[in-house]
């Protein structure tokens, strides 16, 4: 997936002179995950700008650049290091358009690697997307495959408003999928139905899409037909797609790598309760990380939802009576 991201960045920069990259170690080093590999050579120092190590000014200067008509794509090295920039995200990026009634706007993308599963050090395995989903005026996008990373990133860069783009590190080098550099974006604000089914709806996003798809395949062998939905844009949520699936299947399991409490799964479950309660033939289940600090690498496997837990939840929901 990291290659697809680099390709999308290169494509966006080639097609739109307003697109510039800012971040730490993104130049000569090509980014800590190599997401900007080769872009300094191609586009030069004025479009691939290494900044000092300071996340607040990184975020804030991006707001200034965006207000001036640039399209900054700003890399934060890890989701766990984006928190100093929260003030800028909440108080400025998310509301510049609103507080000036559209006089100024903030077309930028804040990229950050997210999630556990790569044996990284402390603070390098966060899944705190729900924090950002709570903020008005920004989109939160999480790709789950190289093709969607490419297409969703192109659309995020082209979007006239701020987008938080979180890339699951576990997928960076996991999948070998040929992605064509065709410059085509994929739509934001819509869920992607990755597998159709009739017995149960599995709603998820990010890295755990992989385990969910695999669980769905194994459930099929047991005679359970699972529909798998990749939310992709976790804020705002395309709830209609989820609701029509639940109307069809009558059963819902939500899977996310983030902690349970006030997670995006809670929002989805609440909306199903509001608008789809009578479709349900069983209680909604959530398969999530516990409400615990992401453990260091020796326990991270236990922390993340796996195929077994997804299948168990799906069986319980399907067999509910």
């Amino acid at each position: 997936m990291v290659g697809a991201i680099a390709m999308a960045l290169g494509r966006a920069m080639q097609d739109d002179a307003r697109v510039i990259l800012v971040g730490e170690d993104i130049g000569a080093n090509g980014g800590v995950f190599r997401a900007t590999d080769g872009l300094l050579e191609r586009f030069g120092e004025e479009r691939v700008m290494d900044t000092p190590l300071a996340e607040t000014v990184l975020a804030g200067m991006s707001v200034g650049l965006a207000a001036q008509g640039f399209r900054p794509v700003t890399e934060f090295q890890f989701m766990g290091f984006i928190y100093p920039a929260l003030d800028q995200v909440i108080n400025h990026a998310g509301r510049l358009r609103n507080r000036t009634r559209g006089r100024l706007s903030c077309p930028l993308v804040f990229r950050a690697p997210m999630g556990a599963g790569i044996h990284a050090p402390e603070h390098h395995s966060e899944s705190t997307e729900a924090l950002f989903a709570h903020i008005p005026g920004i989109r939160v996008v999480i790709p789950s495959s190289p093709a969607r990373a490419y297409g969703l990133l192109l659309s995020s860069i082209a979007d006239p408003d701020p987008v938080m783009f979180f890339e699951p590190t576990r997928l960076y080098r996991a999948q070998k999928e040929e992605v064509e550099d065709n410059g085509q974006g994929l739509p934001l604000d819509v869920c992607y139905v990755l597998r159709e089914g009739t017995d149960i709806t599995l709603v998820t996003w990010g890295a755990v899409v992989k385990e969910t798809l695999s669980a769905a395949q194994q459930l099929a062998a047991e005679g359970i037909s699972a529909e798998v939905i990749d939310v992709a844009t976790v804020s705002p949520i395309d709830f209609d797609t989820i609701l029509s699936s639940v109307e069809k299947t009558g059963r819902l399991v939500i899977i996310h790598e983030a902690p349970r409490n006030c997670g995006i799964g809670a929002e989805i479950a609440a909306r199903v309760a509001e608008r789809g309660l009578l479709f349900l033939q069983a209680p909604v289940e959530r398969v999530t990380a516990p409400d615990a600090v992401v453990p260091l690498l020796r326990l991270e496997k236990a922390y993340m939802p796996d195929e077994m837990r997804i299948m168990e939840a799906a069986r319980r929901v399907v067999n509910y009576s």
Binding site: T56, A59, G60, V63, R103, S105
Partner: protein, 369 residues
């Protein structure tokens, strides 16, 4: 170990430690507290029309300010931060800017906003609780005032980067308070502005008070201007109640930035005459004598005395100006009070360029239909 604990970090130079670097902070003033010229003034200070136009703007600002407080006290305006006493520095740096420069300020910079062309009606509209007050007709690229402290400094750095990338001879001017210089946003911005040699000027409006915290409790640093040194840029301290210094020194900093000389900090010493905002009661933490002492250095009275000493200004001129200012302010108040409130559905109309389909249902709930 115990023996070295109390010793100076800087060892005896005869034994060890040559001077690695040395720094100085200059203080600049042209018009002293009694309106006497100190040294040779810049040309504009000899120009009657220029000096009168500055005085007129300062007077208009103060008239507006008193009216705004009165409106708040009578329930016709939201919480409002008085700018009384800070007119010289605000009008000073704003008048040193060109229309094409971009200003980013903290709240309490009504003097600069008014000089830049933000209308009194727009100011009232904003402080009266209507976002449309930040949709200034001019200057279109200036940022709305930043309420979170120092958070506009990174924006100024971004805007200056945009100017530099486009090779435009424009400058970002960022005004913030003494309290803001304690924040990381400020340090990070000064640092980046220095290392990238950006066309940005940070004006530190040192009014001695960050709500209730006096300047001496804000930092052990001798001056706030010296915070430039860590970022490798020049810093200078000025008498911020001296309109001549305010305009001249900020102007030098701005032109230096425009000419590719990079960023700098100007610390302007002034005084917050009023409460922090209309929601504050400064008598809880500050003695009245301090305020009456500060009034003796009032920037308006000082400039008026300068004009009068040159026979450029008479009592009749003053009376006429006050009447004009009151008329302008009253007209703005009338306009402001006549503006109907925004519709509830408008909460959704500028969240995004186009409201996502997934949010349309929420807007409908507020559209009353």
């Amino acid at each position: 170990m115990a023996e070295t604990r109390g010793k100076e970090l800087n060892p005896d130079p005869s034994q060890n430690g040559k001077v690695a670097a040395e720094f100085q902070i200059r203080y600049r003033q042209y018009l002293d507290g009694t309106a006497n010229l100190v040294g040779e003034p810049p040309d504009f200070a000899r120009n009657r029309d220029t000096m009168i136009s500055l005085y007129r703007a300062m007077t208009l600002t103060r008239t507006f300010d008193s009216k705004a407080i009165a409106l708040q006290r009578t329930g016709q305006l939201g919480t409002y931060p008085s700018c009384a006493g800070q007119e010289a520095i605000g009008i000073g740096y704003a008048s040193a800017m060109t229309d094409r420069d971009v200003m980013l300020t903290t709240y309490r910079e009504q003097p600069a906003q008014i000089w830049r062309g933000v209308t009194l009606t727009e100011l009232l509209q904003f402080w009266g609780g209507d976002e449309r007050g930040c949709d200034f007709a001019v200057p279109r690229e200036d940022f709305p005032v930043a309420v979170p402290i120092a958070s506009q400094a990174p924006h100024a750095v971004g805007i200056a980067t945009a100017f530099k990338l486009r090779r435009e001879r424009r400058v970002a001017v960022c005004a913030l308070g003494d309290g803001a210089t304690s924040k990381g946003d400020f340090y990070e911005s000064v640092n980046l502005a220095g290392v990238w040699r950006l066309p940005v000027v940070f004006i530190v409006i040192n009014n001695n008070w960050a709500i209730s915290l006096p300047r001496e409790k804000q930092t052990a640093a001798k001056t706030l201007a010296q915070k430039a040194i860590a970022g490798g840029i020049p810093g200078v301290q000025i008498d911020g109640n001296d309109i001549i210094a305010a305009r001249q020194v900020t102007g030098e900093a701005i032109e230096r930035a425009r000419d590719g000389g990079g960023a700098s900090i100007v610390e302007a010493i002034t005084y917050r005459m009023g409460d922090h905002t209309t929601a504050d009661d400064a008598s809880r933490y500050r003695r009245e004598e301090l305020v009456s002492a500060a009034w003796k250095l009032d920037p308006l009275a000082r400039l008026r005395a300068y004009l009068a000493n040159r026979n450029w200004w008479t009592k009749a001129d003053e009376e006429k100006l006050i009447a004009e200012c009151r008329e302008k302010v009253d007209l703005a108040v009338k306009e402001y009070l006549a503006i109907p409130p925004p519709s509830p559905a408008s909460m959704f109309d500028h969240l995004f360029e186009t409201l996502p389909a997934a949010m349309q249902w929420q807007r409908k709930q507020f559209a009353g239909g």
